[in-house]
């Protein structure tokens, strides 16, 4: 049975509430315009808004935890403003700015600022009056309804039945008795409300370690301009990294379009670096595949360092170039991985297995090499043919083939489920009249030795 998930101010005035059945709603208000809720789109929209709100604080939490149709339910955003208030002219100016800017985007909001996240959340939902800035364990919190505690619905209903309606009533109770009767949850919530216990929150976007940004009064659209600005930001960041003796491990370039949509370009590094020339090259490579629709343009460009690591000043040669060969290799790997993808720039690593296709594994370059030699085995081909074609497909005829070495029997690894029913295989090194050598495989060694049972699994030349 469809119910209302959210209502706007007009519908609320007509007496509609979230949680009401759709049929009843039409009965109350025949002019109602309704649309089916798309939770996925809603969640994405909230996260996009959360990222956009990073203009005020790097730590933004998108909170859609409570069902919209419950009292005080619906989405909210929590911004950690610790240490950022002075940037916006103080708490009062910030609240005004947030409400004003969001209103221009067509959003109706209620805002509150408190020393503790749960208190801010509760006051934004249920608080009354114009004074929306609360201090730690503010006495005004006592007037809030019980729903401000975000209790389990069952606990909330039980308390309601017993006549608890306001927080003041609960706060007056001895904590130990509350915990015994209704579980530790309610005591935790009260502690969080008054700042005695942290409220663990997961920010919507990871926090960056360092960031530089530029806003444009007029959106810019030319790739050359974007590149020039991005490189400028990079230079500033590199100076800050140098100063902090840190090296970047992951960077994100955020391009914000005028209507708030953002595109994120990520650059991963195999090892920490703050070398301007190298990062510049990677950034250029990344921007190369950037395709912007020319009519749109970019109104804000932000370069964030998401992860960094301590990095001591590097030793350089007399001419200033790096003398560290492994650093050279890491630079090369970064460039290759950026364009090809990390799974296409690999090390081959031996694996202790006699089954040929399992004897080697591909490892990312960033992982250190563990083996320094290939294990001694019977002759193995230089190339493995994954398709295992019939010999005829490669022009091999039985009368031409001589056996140079073998047969070598390879048993399946019976402890693996996929090998449970696999037959043993026979391998021979075959030599043709012209001297070419192939690795022939009899896929089922329990069958007859007939030519028809052989396939080509590798080439030696």
């Amino acid at each position: 049975m469809p119910v209302l998930r959210a209502v706007d101010a007009g519908a609320r005035a007509a007496g509609l509430r979230p949680g009401m059945r759709l049929a009843d709603a039409y009965g109350l208000c025949p002019a109602l315009v309704s649309a089916e809720a798309d939770l996925q789109v809603e969640r994405e929209g909230l996260e996009a808004l959360a990222r956009w709100c990073q203009r005020w604080s790097p730590i933004v939490v998108a909170d859609a935890a409570i069902e919209a149709r419950e009292e005080g339910g619906g989405a909210s955003l929590l911004l950690d403003m610790a240490g950022c208030l002075h940037l916006f002219g103080g708490a009062r100016a910030l609240l005004w700015q947030v409400q004003d800017v969001l209103a221009r985007r067509g959003l109706t909001t209620r805002v509150a600022l408190a020393a503790d996240p749960l208190a801010a959340w509760a006051w934004a939902r249920f608080g009354a009056g114009d004074r929306r800035i609360l201090k730690t364990a503010d006495p005004r919190l006592q007037h809030l309804p019980l729903a401000a505690l975000r209790l389990q619905p069952r606990t909330g209903r039980a308390l309601h039945r017993l006549g608890f309606h306001r927080l003041a009533q609960v706060m007056a109770m001895p904590r130990a008795a509350l915990a015994r009767r209704y579980g530790a949850d309610i005591v935790h919530r009260l502690d969080q409300l008054e700042g005695r216990r942290p409220w663990p929150l997961r920010p919507v976007a990871e926090t960056f370690a360092l960031a530089e940004a530029r806003n444009f009064a007029q959106p810019i659209g030319r790739t050359e301009d974007i590149e020039a600005v991005a490189l400028g930001l990079l230079e500033l960041l590199c100076q800050r990294l140098e100063h902090a003796e840190q090296g970047a491990l992951r960077l994100v370039l955020v391009l914000t379009r005028p209507h708030g949509q953002a595109k994120r370009l990520e650059i991963g590094l195999g090892r920490p670096t703050r070398e301007l020339a190298h990062l510049r090259r990677l950034l250029r490579l990344r921007l190369e595949d950037l395709l912007l629709r020319s009519e749109e343009g970019i109104e804000r460009l932000e370069l964030q360092i998401m992860e960094m690591m301590p990095l001591k000043p590097a030793q350089t040669g007399g001419t200033g170039e790096s003398v560290d060969r492994s650093a050279d290799l890491a630079r090369l790997a970064d460039q290759l991985e950026l364009r090809l993808g990390a799974d296409r720039v690999v090390r081959l690593e031996p694996v202790a297995s006699h089954v040929p296709e399992r004897a080697v594994r591909q490892r990312r370059l960033a992982e250190p090499a563990t083996a320094t030699a290939w294990p001694p085995l019977s002759p193995r081909p230089l190339r493995l043919l994954a398709a295992r074609p019939r010999p005829e497909a490669l022009g091999l005829r039985p009368e031409e083939v001589g056996i140079l070495e073998g047969p070598e029997r390879i048993l399946p690894e019976w402890w693996r489920p996929e090998d449970a029913t696999a037959p043993p295989r026979d391998y021979v090194v075959a030599i043709l009249r012209d001297g070419r050598r192939f690795w022939l495989c009899r896929e089922d060694a329990s069958q007859s030795l007939a030519w028809g049972g052989w396939v080509v699994h590798g080439r030696f030349d």
Partner: protein, 288 residues
């Protein structure tokens, strides 16, 4: 590398090229003694130092392939900062051997191939590199999607100081691409090996040397030794022809890869006349 020597490289192989090569040629033609002396020195160096890349020509380190081949090359081995093309049925094995010779210097081996070629020709198989002494820790395998990406990755690798040798697997290799790779090599300092699949292709490119590698036919292997499996300790044998080289004569060798010294040896099971016959083949090859 000056533009002049570049010009010489592309001006054609027929006329005697660049002054640096001319000097070498004179030394070789004028007094045969000097050639032998160089060869002896090379052998002594090989015995003493295991055949490193200590030797230099025009400031470029030179990798020794093995005494018999080096003696016929004006650089006394294969120079770095240059492209060397290997084609033919045994191209993979000979490329692996040559790559190993370049790894006596510090640095990585980067092996670039495309998905399409891996499907057609087979994927490089690590355990098969053991006889060639190429360790997994030094090998970087690049699995590019297509030829364009392969050449892009190869040029990045060639430009890097940390790479001793870059192998590019390809079917087509035109002049423009090869020049681009040549320039990359000159700023990097490593060597470039072009592993060409398919039939012999004589269209010009910027490679300094162009080899054709075939396996030793079974008949020749067996003529000397009725039990061919006894050949194994000596390693695989190849007929290697240098059919085009800037500043060198076309040459032909029958060599085997020595798994102990990790260098090319003259193949020992020779049928009388086989080398002479093969040398003729090599000559006619070069004229095509």
């Amino acid at each position: 590398m000056s533009t002049e020597s570049f010009h010489d490289r592309f001006a054609g192989h027929d006329r005697p090229s660049g002054h640096d090569h001319a000097a070498n040629a004179k030394e070789r033609d004028g007094c045969g003694q000097a050639v032998d002396l160089e060869g002896l020195k090379a052998r002594i160096r090989a015995i003493e130092g295991g055949g490193g890349v200590a030797h230099r020509v025009d400031g470029r380190p030179v990798a020794r392939l093995g005494a018999p081949i080096d003696r016929a090359l004006p650089w006394n081995g294969l120079p770095t900062m240059a492209l060397h093309e290997v084609a033919g049925p045994s191209a993979t094995a000979v490329t692996a051997g040559m790559a190993r010779r370049f790894l006596d210097r510090k640095g990585a081996l980067v092996w670039c191939r495309s998905d399409g070629l891996a499907r057609l020709q087979g994927e490089l198989y690590g355990p098969g590199l053991r006889p060639y002494g190429i360790d997994p820790a030094r090998l970087i395998h690049i699995r590019a999607r297509d030829a364009e990406e392969t050449f892009w990755a190869a040029s990045m690798a060639m430009r890097s100081q940390a790479v001793a040798c870059t192998v590019v697997e390809t079917e087509a290799f035109d002049l423009v691409t090869s020049r681009r790779l040549q320039i990359a090599l000159e700023s990097g300092g490593g060597a470039g090996l072009v592993l060409r699949h398919g039939a012999l292709e004589s269209a010009p490119n910027a490679a300094l040397t162009r080899f054709w590698a075939e396996p030793m036919p079974r008949a020749i292997l067996a003529a000397d030794d009725p039990a061919p499996w006894r050949l194994r300790p000596r390693g695989p044998s190849f007929r290697l022809s240098l059919w085009r080289a800037k500043g060198a004569q076309p040459s032909f060798w029958t060599v085997s890869w020595n798994e102990r010294t990790l260098a090319f040896d003259l193949a020992s099971p020779l049928v009388p006349g086989a080398v002479a016959k093969a040398a003729e083949d090599g000559q006619s090859f070069a004229r095509t």
